[in-house]
């Protein structure tokens, strides 16, 4: 009997979708679970070609053309995918020295990156050097704690962006590291650095309460954690001092995590923190599964890492 119900429901659902599809595509959502995939990189540092077979550390690893086929395969499997980068796109191979980041941005655009945040090395050719390459980037730069209003980047960087996939709202905001002491002032000029933790508290509230996002993602280049300087803002501190963030995608510290970290936020709820090392050696993948059935969430969200 149950089986028969199921088949009937499925048939009906299919019919509904078909009709919806013919007339009103925007109302065609079937009452089934939704699935969002987040893919991410960080600190790729102009590593466009794979490491050679003779490389002492990472032989035969990385490479944008391989990442492209991997990303495409995942998009084919789930079109509701976002591809994000957590900064330090620039600097590390002669491609950057010769082309100033043009090739990096063009390739990221071809891979259909949705957004990136700004790392300290992205200022290596100065804020003007970054600005000059922006026309090559068909994706958004997100940073909520760099105030660019007195710089050439004013209005070219957004604090956050809300993506809509399968009717779900995914809010992504960016945070960056303190530039003073890390980047020469001549390079970052009048960029104003604001406390990333306080900004993240604001951003997560805006995205959850005002934008009503179903998922909130922090794209961070502040670093995973600093054992020698435990009070320095880091992803683990950001996770602990905020609420409503589902995922923190990190960068800067080139941290190779064996698996994504599950930690607790200010409300003792789970937050995922992930970082995938550097140089495009790994691609991070986080899958979020939704359901309309509230009973399934009665015991909280299950996390499999």
């Amino acid at each position: 009997m149950k089986r028969r119900d199921f088949i009937q429901q499925t048939t009906a659902a299919t019919a509904l979708v078909t009709i919806g599809g013919l007339t009103l595509p925007s109302f065609s959502s079937a009452p089934k679970g939704k699935h969002i995939t987040i893919l991410h990189t960080n600190d790729v540092h102009s590593h466009i070609d794979p490491f050679g077979p003779e490389d002492g550390r990472n032989p035969n690893k990385g490479g944008v053309a391989r990442r492209a086929s991997l990303v495409q395969a995942i998009r084919n499997e789930n079109p509701n995918t976002l591809l994000l980068d957590a900064g330090d796109i620039f600097q590390g191979t002669p491609y950057f020295n010769y082309y100033g980041g043009e090739l990096e941005f063009k390739l990221m655009s071809k891979l259909k990156y949705d957004a990136a945040t700004i790392g300290n090395h992205d200022f290596d050719n100065g804020i003007d050097g970054l600005y000059a390459q922006l026309p090559h980037a068909k994706f958004d730069f997100l940073s909520a704690n760099y105030n660019f209003s007195n710089t050439i980047l004013d209005t070219h960087v957004k604090p956050y962006k809300v993506f809509i996939k399968e009717g779900l709202k995914i809010g992504v905001f960016g945070v960056g590291i303190q530039l003073d002491g890390l980047v020469l002032k001549d390079l970052y000029k009048e960029t104003d650095y604001l406390n990333p933790i306080e900004i993240a508290q604001d951003m997560s509230r805006i995205l959850k309460e005002e934008e009503h996002c179903d998922l909130v993602i922090c794209l961070s280049h502040i670093g995973y954690k600093y054992s020698n300087n435990p009070n320095k803002p880091s992803d683990l501190i950001l996770a602990e001092k905020t609420k409503n963030i589902d995922l923190i995608i990190g960068g800067h510290t080139h941290t190779f995590l064996p698996k994504p970290t599950v930690t607790k936020n200010a409300e003792a709820k789970n937050v995922l923190v992930n970082q995938v090392g550097c140089y495009g050696i790994n691609l991070g993948r986080i899958d979020f599964y939704f359901d309309t059935d509230k009973n399934k969430t009665a015991n909280g969200t299950s996390i499999i890492v």
Binding site: A15, L16, I19, G20, T23, F27, S28, S29, P31, G33, I48, D49, N60, K61, G62, G63, V64, A65, R66, R67, A68, S69, L70, Q72, P94, Y95, Y98, L103, K106, L107, K110, G167, L168, L184, D186, D214, D246, K259, P260, L272, N274, V276, G280, N282, L283, G284, I286, D287, F288, Y289, F290, D291, T292, K296, T297, T301, S302, I303, I304, V305
Partner: protein, 253 residues
Amino acid sequence: MNFKPLFALFLIAFIFSCKQEKQHLTRIEGKQIAVTDSLETDPEIEAFIKPYRDHVNKNMDSVISYAMHTYSKTDGELNTAIGNLFADVMFEQGNPIFKKRTGKDIDMVLANHGGIRAIISEGNITTRTAYEIMPFENSIVVAPIKGSQVNQMIAYLLNAKRAHPISKLHIVADKNYQLVEATINNKPIDTSKIYYVATNDYLYNGGDGMTFFQPSDSLYILNYKIRNAFIDYFKNHDTINPVIDNRFIKLDH
């Protein structure tokens, strides 16, 4: 054909789907995927990269000078041919910029032994050679420091017993690495004088334990990467033949 049931179905679909059902997050799965040679290379992306790669490689492999011998930072105790070249390049390329900007000359140069990242092999020198010996992005900076700080630097060098590259500074030590004589411009170090020391931004900020650059009230940033200084130097010299000399020596007694 009876359209009535179809219409009813449509109506249901409309009402049903417009009423947005609240979605609840039930499950999260996270992992990382290694990008290895087992993955397919996207041919379109590969084709897009190729002209850039060819241009970079062609440029990187263009011959810009010639090395008479092979030079390694392990060939020599307190000064080496490659280290002397390293510091001399920083002076020769950096001084005109500094002089033009300030009207002053660089008094001496200090780099670090660990900063020489590769040997220079006998034969053709290419742009790639400069990238190999200096893969880092460090730039030349000029720090005005007191003679007393120069003396701390000399104490550091005697204690390190390594061939940290120097230029225009002359140090003679006895067999126990005690200072016999130190001069800049053939004159003893004057503790009250300000010396303009060219180095890189890494060492200026205390890298390799070189704390003697601080305190300093001002710093001249030449906006000139050491690698680019090498490339320009090689282009200006069709042959290089640096030697071990007497800039930092130890006596036998």
